[in-house]
């Protein structure tokens, strides 16, 4: 078995320090991309679960995530990146539906919804910007922790994300946690019309 053991690595516990220290020096996204560094949002000591809980614009999603029993997932090693419909998004989605997703009877739906908004790994806003810049106007895609994908594109200065006919825009500030990142969005990314 050919194993080449490498190098130094920081412990996972060093995540916040690495981030604060500017460990993220950027990526190119593709082979042709530039390596321009931009200041990443500073990482906090918080996990995704804690960051979600503390964000005053994400209360509904926090409730849905807790109802879904994903505290261990969002509080664990990860990493994951959560595209988080904000409270206004859930209001537009329908308060009856949002409240239903907080209850036991719709826990499977809550989990399915969350999985459709989570992608593997740590993706910062700058990573998205870099990937879109390198794509030269094309869309870029990330698979979700459900079985779908999220597609990102530019719309002027904004980044829009689509999935299965749903469309949202990245709004507000990202939260970079020890085990991933949270990007607030202005609509849920899951189709809600009844099946034909």
């Amino acid at each position: 078995m050919a194993l080449i053991r490498l190098v130094l690595m920081a412990s996972i516990a060093a995540l916040p320090l690495a981030a604060c220290g500017g460990a993220d020096k950027g990526n190119t996204g593709t082979a042709n991309a530039s390596n321009e560094a931009a200041a990443a949002a500073p990482a906090s000591n918080q996990t995704l679960a804690a960051a979600l809980h503390d964000d005053g614009d994400l209360d509904t999603l926090d409730d849905v995530a807790r109802n879904a029993g994903l505290e261990d997932v969002l509080g664990g090693v990860g990493p994951y990146t959560l595209f988080a419909p904000n409270d206004a998004a859930f209001t537009a989605f329908g308060e009856d539906r949002a409240n239903a997703l907080k209850g036991a009877a719709m826990r499977p739906q809550a989990i399915a919804l969350l999985r459709s908004h989570i992608v593997p790994g740590m993706i910062t806003r700058r990573d998205l910007e870099a990937a879109l810049a390198n794509a030269n106007g094309r869309q870029v895609t990330m698979r979700t922790m459900g079985q779908g994908s999220l597609t990102f594109a530019r719309d002027g200065d904004a980044i829009v994300v689509t999935s299965e006919g749903a469309r949202a825009r990245l709004v507000g500030d990202e939260a970079v946690a020890t085990n991933g990142a949270i990007h607030p969005i202005d609509a849920p990314l899951i189709a809600t019309e009844p099946a034909a």
Binding site: G29, T30, A50, K102, G103, A112, P120, G121, E193
Partner: protein, 355 residues
């Protein structure tokens, strides 16, 4: 190499020395075969994880560990979690009512809702949950895991949990619903289920091999004539804390690599199914928690990178070492970072994140 306690907030000093030879790969030490084979027609046989783990001893073996997971996809037969001597089939003994639930949206949950309740309870329980969480995180941070990157060039050394879109569906009728009228339900009831249109119907739209409707913690597959032809236990429904593992629902044991990577404690036995890792009480085999989400994507050295990884997503702690360059892309998935050729999109190496 597993003797290092990690302390929060302290970076680990770099180790540039070449590899000490022990621990060739992280082989699914716990996994000896797998469960749920009964759901897979024609499975048969016993899977063999191959590896074993000697916790505390430092030495690990398990070069064939990945085969355990791989065979778990194929075979049937018995499963045996490392922390449980019960195989899949045995796990369900004594829990014959696990699959109740069709026709009544509450029945399928059993006692799963204790302690969780409705939305108000979610708020009320927050303090408790947060405290529990802090303890869990402390437990994980104290766990002996050496989080160093190791480049793997041998595809056989990669331990993967694999997603199979065909798995999860259980043919036939659940316990308690006898086969009637060529289906699990009387035709009238099945037709009513098929006729229901709910705003969340498309939450499981990736299942395209039939008409699916949600009811009572399960997803029901219906034929065009409305006859129920199978069902899928759902996370949060039939698969929820306090419920026994559903009979005939296929799973894979979670290999040591994932247990260590995710920092799972030994108090549970862990099972993987349909993209979700569950923690189970090793004594009762009841589900206790949702412990992780994994993609199950197939990242094989020499293979093409799976679709849906267009954005750099490497964890923070590894970004200094693994940044995209004109000659290499790096992508994270399920506990590994993979090096990919930007031109051919072929996977060149895997980098395991613990050793």
């Amino acid at each position: 190499m597993r003797s290092m306690y990690l302390a929060l907030g302290a970076a680990v000093a770099a180790l540039a020395s070449p590899v000490l030879a022990q621990g060739h790969g992280h082989g699914g030490g716990g996994g000896q075969g797998h469960g749920g084979g009964q759901a897979q027609a024609g499975g048969g046989g016993h899977g063999r994880g191959g590896g074993h783990s000697e916790r505390g001893g430092g030495a690990r073996h398990g070069g064939q560990g990945s085969q355990g997971a791989a065979q778990a996809e194929r075979g049937g037969g018995h499963g045996r979690d490392r922390t449980s001597s019960a195989g899949h089939g045995n796990a369900d003994r004594g829990h014959g009512n696990s699959d109740r639930g069709h026709g009544n949206s509450d029945r399928g949950h059993g006692n799963a809702d204790r302690g969780h309740g409705n939305a108000d309870r979610v708020h009320a329980d927050r303090g408790h949950i947060d405290n529990r969480h802090a303890q869990q995180l402390a437990d994980r941070s104290n766990r002996r895991v050496d989080r160093r990157a190791v480049v793997v060039t041998d595809r056989g050394s990669i331990v993967r949990l694999r997603y199979d879109p065909g798995r999860g569906l259980i043919q036939g009728c659940p316990p308690g619903l006898a086969r009637k009228h060529n289906g699990c339900l009387p035709p009238g009831q099945a037709r009513r289920l098929a006729a229901q249109h709910n705003w969340y119907d498309r939450y499981w739209s990736y299942r395209r091999d039939g008409i699916y409707r949600y009811d009572g913690g399960y997803l029901w597959r219906l034929r065009s004539n409305g006859v129920v032809s199978g069902f899928v236990p759902l996370a949060g429904g039939a698969l929820w804390a306090g419920n026994p593992w559903p009979a005939r629902y296929a799973y894979d044991p979670v290999p040591d690599y994932y247990r260590d990577y995710f920092g799972y404690r030994d108090r549970y036995s862990y099972r993987y199914a349909d993209g979700v890792i569950y923690g189970l009480d090793p004594q009762t085999q009841t589900i206790r928690t949702i412990s992780g989400l994994v993609t199950g994507d197939n990242w094989g050295i020499g293979s093409r990178m799976p679709a849906g990884y267009d954005v750099y997503n490497v964890p923070y702690a590894y970004r200094d070492s693994y940044r995209d360059t004109p000659s290499s892309l790096y992508r994270y998935s399920d506990g590994y970072v993979y090096q990919v050729d930007p031109t051919t999109q072929l996977i060149q190496t895997a980098i395991q994140l613990i050793t």
